[in-house]
């Protein structure tokens, strides 16, 4: 009896081990038997955020058909950049990833992406500012396909003519407010944590700056200018627009309610980008888009330029195929048009802009508003700016002392940069 039981145990363990080793042998032998197919295998994997996944699918499939390969587009719902970097490191990442150009610095320092080699003809087909945005340390790191920037969207029923300066804007809005037509001066998202992206054009118009510039004209992470006297003066200007001043900037208007407040006709001016027009159209508001106004006698209000681009993962399993897709397929005019149709953001290809220009007047207006735009710095140090800058913005909007707020932001940024 006892012997039988022991035999049973041995047999069962043997079975489990045998099955494991057997599978292991299969798993191990597949790659070695056909070394030619161990990598690549005619598959291309693209990662994108939920907004772009659906838009990409059809023409990814087309590329697959043209080249006789399988293309999969995978949706990464949260934290695409971090997920990509981590997965890439472990060798389980995709061949291509799509993201904003200000990721480039971080992706390069982690060795996650490769430069994309474009011919000079391909390069000159892009809008110069889009190409500049994806250039980092002298190398082109991605194929840009869409651009976006902030502009002033106004309700033309309330305000027929675009204001030339912020002072004009405030004046027009104050009149409307006095007449009881609106309750807010303008809808510019600040929120409880501040929003450096949305306030930057006005900060720049008032003379403020984030970084110094290197000899090559790139932002220089070694000189942080947020606490400089020019920036303090700019914060002082923002304070005048704030809650204790004209009431144009308010922490109660944030990302969650700025567009809906405009759509609800509670304000006549909205500072936002191409992503806002859909809600505004749905609300049935007659609107027009114009460049952001600057302060009277100040500099131009320069919004950040953002570029969406395709990147080739340095640990791609089908790198040649990925390079082919990014360098020779995405740069095709018809593909750019198809992407625009699925997600209407201004294309980065000049030829594609010409194609869609006729059917979409908003596009030209947004492009025009971004004409003097400043490509958002792609250096990794940029991510140290957002939080502290936002806090300083909130402080001055609430009427605190600009010099103290700017100094505190400067300290926090330098602390974050010092590793």
């Amino acid at each position: 009896m006892r012997a039988i039981r022991i035999a049973g145990v041995v047999a069962a363990i043997g079975l489990v081990l045998g099955a494991g080793l057997g599978l292991a042998a299969c798993g191990g032998s597949t790659p070695t038997a056909q070394p030619s197919k161990d990598k690549g295998n005619g598959k291309l994997e693209i990662w994108a955020d939920p907004k772009r996944t659906a838009a990409l699918k059809p023409f990814a499939d087309q590329f697959g058909k043209d080249n006789g390969v399988t293309v999969t587009v995978k949706e990464i719902a949260e934290n695409l950049q971090q997920t990509f970097v981590t997965a890439s490191q472990q060798g389980s990442g995709p061949d291509i990833v799509i993201g904003a150009h200000d990721w480039i610095g971080n992706l390069v320092q982690n060795g996650s992406i490769d430069p994309v080699n474009l011919t000079s003809a391909q390069k000159s087909a892009f809008e110069p500012s889009a190409l500049k945005a994806v250039t980092f340390n002298g190398q082109v790191y991605g194929a840009p396909y869409a651009m976006e920037n902030l502009a002033l969207i106004r309700n033309t029923e309330l305000v027929p003519n675009a204001p030339a300066t912020i002072e004009d804007l405030v004046k027009a809005a104050q009149d409307l407010k006095a007449a009881g037509k609106v309750s807010e001066i303008m809808c510019l998202q600040v929120g409880a944590a501040g929003d450096a992206y949305h306030i930057y054009p006005f900060f720049a118009s008032a003379g403020g700056s984030l970084f110094g510039t290197t000899s090559s004209g790139d932002p220089d992470p070694k000189t942080v200018n947020v606490g400089s006297s020019d920036s303090v003066a700019a914060f002082a200007k923002l304070k005048e627009l704030g809650e204790k001043g004209l009431g144009a900037l308010k922490t109660s208007i944030g990302s969650e309610n700025s567009i809906s407040t405009f759509a609800g006709k509670k304000c006549a001016f909205l500072v936002s980008g191409p992503w806002a027009t859909k809600d505004v159209k749905t609300a049935g508001i007659k609107y027009d888009i114009s460049p952001l106004p600057g302060f009277a006698g100040g500099k131009k209000a320069t919004p950040f330029l953002g570029v969406q681009a395709f990147y080739v993962a340095s640990k791609a399993k089908s790198k040649a195929l990925a390079q082919e897709f990014v360098a020779n397929y995405v740069t095709n005019k018809d593909v750019a048009k198809a992407l625009y149709d699925a997600d209407p953001r201004p294309p980065a290809l000049t030829a594609a802009i010409d194609v869609v220009k006729g059917s979409d007047p908003d596009l030209v207006k947004f492009l025009n508003a971004g004409k003097d735009g400043f490509p958002m710095p792609a250096i990794p140090e940029m991510s140290a700016i957002w939080g502290p800058f936002g806090n300083a913005e909130v402080a001055v909007v609430k009427g605190e002392d600009p010099a103290t707020a700017a100094a505190a932001a400067q300290t926090a940024i330098l602390a974050a940069l010092k590793k």
Binding site: G68, N110, P115, S252
Partner: protein, 503 residues
């Protein structure tokens, strides 16, 4: 042994064995493929051990303890140990991979087209099973073959409309996507650099401007050189500037030391710690008091519509907490929020330190009291009504019998849960992150907000300031772990004393 026990014993045995066998079958192939022999050995030993344990009739207590122990090791002990080990490295953005990875990335980044390089039309083909490039000079239409030795002319080749070779004698054209690694690896040497493929239809002559030199352990770019710094995990030049691609190195206790020596961290640590304790204790206290009061009220035999009330009480608990946190944040809005509209006030609730702190505890009260209500309701069922009735007959007032009889018995059952609730609230990241994001900030201190908990403060320090610094975050997490573990240990010790009194 009766029949029911025998059946359930058999079922659990089969289930345990089945699950462990399934995990084994699932995990072995990838482990073998990556050559992780240590992990494989541990896995096989564990599987053999489980098999032995559940196929014999001996070691009965172990049969019950082993599954829990394995889960404890996998999901509690291992993550803690891993976090602790990460704390000794500089792991983070810019320092994720090995030195070899960093060198490759630097060399790849510096690959530049040779000035005036020829832009070839490329066809990937094989000759005798080896990958070669069939290259057409777009200007002269000359066809060449490039392999690991260099370029050589091809005589009998047909060039198609696209300018690419479509057929060549002795070569087999390779379909797109095949042997990708070989295509990537092929660099046809030339005088100035090497011809490499760009996609599948172009090839260009490149040279790497930066090269790694083993003899000096440095990166050379013309006259510039960056020497490897093994302490920082960077290549650094003479004036201390580093290349951005770094690698992971061990930094010893530096991450732990930084908590005390970096003034930006240490100057705010104790204020944050204090608020963290106040927040966690206040949260547990208010949710428990409200939850228990409601449970006691509904426990009274005189109460009617108990079921309706209970359903209503559970509602906050049943709603998705994430969404509710955002709804609460919006209700606090100065101009558009429900609270100010309801009361006709214009208060910046989350804009003042005390308002934001009270607001957080209020939201936590709303979210958390149903949990306490459920716990207390359960625990109350276990306390015989005879006890309170007896104390009533002995002349105790309802308050006295609650204070002297019901509450102590409740506490015996609930204290462990209150301790775990304290530990949870001590690290209540979501609440602070979504409602106040740590703010408001003092105008002269931009590093730490008035409602920051240690965990949200850590998150910002480690992940939002420049780049993800996992090593440093792991070090602070270790401190938080030690604090929470100490508090919990003391509390449990006191509970045990209490249990001895009442049991």
């Amino acid at each position: 042994m009766n029949r029911g026990v025998a059946v359930s014993y058999l079922v659990t045995r089969i289930a345990t064995l089945g699950i462990s066998a399934a995990i084994l079958l699932y995990a072995v192939p990838p482990l073998v493929r990556t050559g992780s022999w240590t992990a494989l050995a541990i896995l096989l030993a564990a599987a053999a051990g489980i098999g032995y344990l559940y196929l014999t009739k001996r070691h009965v207590p172990a049969k019950y303890l082993v599954p829990g122990t394995i889960l404890l090791l996998t999901f509690q002990v291992l993550p803690v140990l891993y976090t602790f080990s990460v704390a000794f490295t500089n792991f983070g953005d810019g320092h994720r991979g090995t030195k070899q990875d960093a060198i490759l990335a630097i060399e790849r980044e510096s690959l530049a087209e040779v000035p005036g390089a020829t832009d070839y039309a490329l066809t990937v083909a094989t000759r005798d099973g080896r990958v070669v490039f069939l290259l057409v000079n777009r200007d002269t239409k000359q066809v060449q073959v490039g392999d690991a030795e260099g370029l050589s002319p091809v005589d009998d080749a047909e060039v198609g409309l696209t300018g690419k070779v479509v057929r060549a004698k002795g070569f087999e054209i390779l379909p797109a996507g095949e042997r990708d690694a070989d295509v990537q690896a092929l660099a046809v040497p030339t005088e100035r650099g090497a011809i490499k493929s760009v996609g599948l239809s172009r090839a260009i002559e490149f040279e790497a401007k930066r090269k790694y030199d083993v003899s000096c352990d440095c990166i050379i770019d013309g006259a510039n050189r960056w020497t490897a710094d093994g302490d920082r995990g960077y290549f650094v030049d003479g004036s201390g500037n580093n290349l951005i691609q770094g690698w992971k190195v061990n930094v010893g206790w530096a991450n732990f030391g930084r908590v005390f020596t970096d003034p930006n961290v240490s100057s705010n640590f104790f204020e944050t710690l204090l608020w963290n304790f106040v927040f966690a204790l206040a949260s547990v206290f208010v949710t428990f008091v409200l939850g228990m009061s409601v449970a006691l009220a509904l426990h009274s035999p005189k109460m009617k519509f108990k079921r309706t009330y209970r359903t209503l009480m559970i509602l906050p608990y049943a709603m998705p907490a994430f969404a509710m946190l955002l709804v609460w944040r919006d209700m606090f809005n100065t101009d558009f929020g429900l609270l100010n509209r309801l009361f006709g006030t214009h208060i910046d609730w989350l804009g003042s330190p005390s308002g934001a702190r009270l607001g957080l505890i209020l939201v936590n009260l709303w979210l958390g009291f149903p949990y306490m209500f459920l716990l207390t309701t359960g625990a109350l069922q276990a306390i015989p009504r005879e006890l309170t009735e007896a104390s009533g007959i002995d002349g105790a007032s309802p308050w006295q019998s609650f204070r002297r009889v019901t509450l102590p018995l409740l506490m015996v059952a609930l204290t462990p849960l209150l301790i775990s609730s304290f530990a949870f609230n001590f690290n209540n990241f979501n609440l602070v992150r979504f409602v106040t994001a740590g703010g408001p900030y003092a105008v002269d201190n931009n590093l730490v907000g008035k409602t920051d908990l240690l965990i949200t403060y850590t998150y910002r320090l480690a992940f939002e300031g420049g780049s993800g610094q996992f090593g440093f975050a792991a070090a602070i997490s270790t401190f938080i772990f030690i604090i929470v573990a100490t508090v919990s240990a003391i509390a449990f010790r006191r509970t045990r004393a209490q249990e001895e009194v009442y049991s």
